[in-house]
Amino acid sequence: TGEVKRFLRDDGMIKVSRSLKEIANKVRITKDSLNGTLNREPTLEEIAQELNMEREDIVMALEAVGEVESLQKTIYQ
């Protein structure tokens, strides 16, 4: 089965996945740069298009690096 997988991946039928941390970093950079050009928070779709990814996979990558820090910002500021 290893061969089948390799064939499918080499054929470009399956996207080779990058590490979640790598994706999360790209998401953050893209989000910040879009924030600058749009002058507002970008939507997930805007980030997804820039990175050629699905919105759902972006959410999963963000979870991996933990971005639940908006808490302190809102409550304790």
Partner: protein, 156 residues
């Protein structure tokens, strides 16, 4: 004729703290269909985390039980209900007061409901002692492009 587009999902899982992350990502992944910002996703995740943690810690007191999540999206709004069949809440009004807790040994004590109310537009709690608790939360997504035109782009 009802022209409103809706979409719905339900999850059921064991009341183990390892599942808190799964529950929050599942709801967040579903929410992406409303095209939220990263901040809006984080808000919903935080609220879901707090409600699920409450079901695990207070509802089932770490014994094994089932937690149920129901999500409905209607136009630009998401409605998330989190339910348990645990011990229930005797005084809901008191339970929702900031800093009120029956387990003072925990971190962020007594701020769970305050967080849910801060991050969501609306929070409603139904509970009965010995029967269980349901927390229903709503949030409008500001720049929502409502639903995706088709899922075909998924294969792109």
């Amino acid at each position: 004729m009802n022209t409103k587009q809706t979409n719905e999902m339900q999850i059921e899982f064991d009341s183990k703290s390892e599942n808190e992350g799964f529950a929050r990502v599942a709801v967040a992944a579903f929410l992406t269909q409303l095209n939220p910002t990263v901040e809006e996703v984080a808000d919903v995740k935080t609220a879901v985390s707090e409600a699920v943690t409450n079901s695990i810690i207070h509802g089932y007191e770490k014994k094994r039980g089932k937690i149920f999540i129901r999500c409905i999206m209607q136009e630009d709004e998401i409605v998330v209900s989190i339910s348990d069949k645990g011990k229930g809440i005797a005084d809901i009004k008191k339970a929702m007061e900031p800093l009120f807790t029956t387990k003072p040994e925990l971190e962020r004590s007594g701020m769970g409901f305050a967080f849910m109310e801060a991050f969501m537009d609306q929070v409603d709690v139904i509970s009965e002692v010995g029967i269980g608790t349901t927390v229903t939360m709503k949030k409008k997504i500001e720049n929502s492009s409502t639903f995706r035109v088709s899922g075909d782009e998924l294969n792109g």
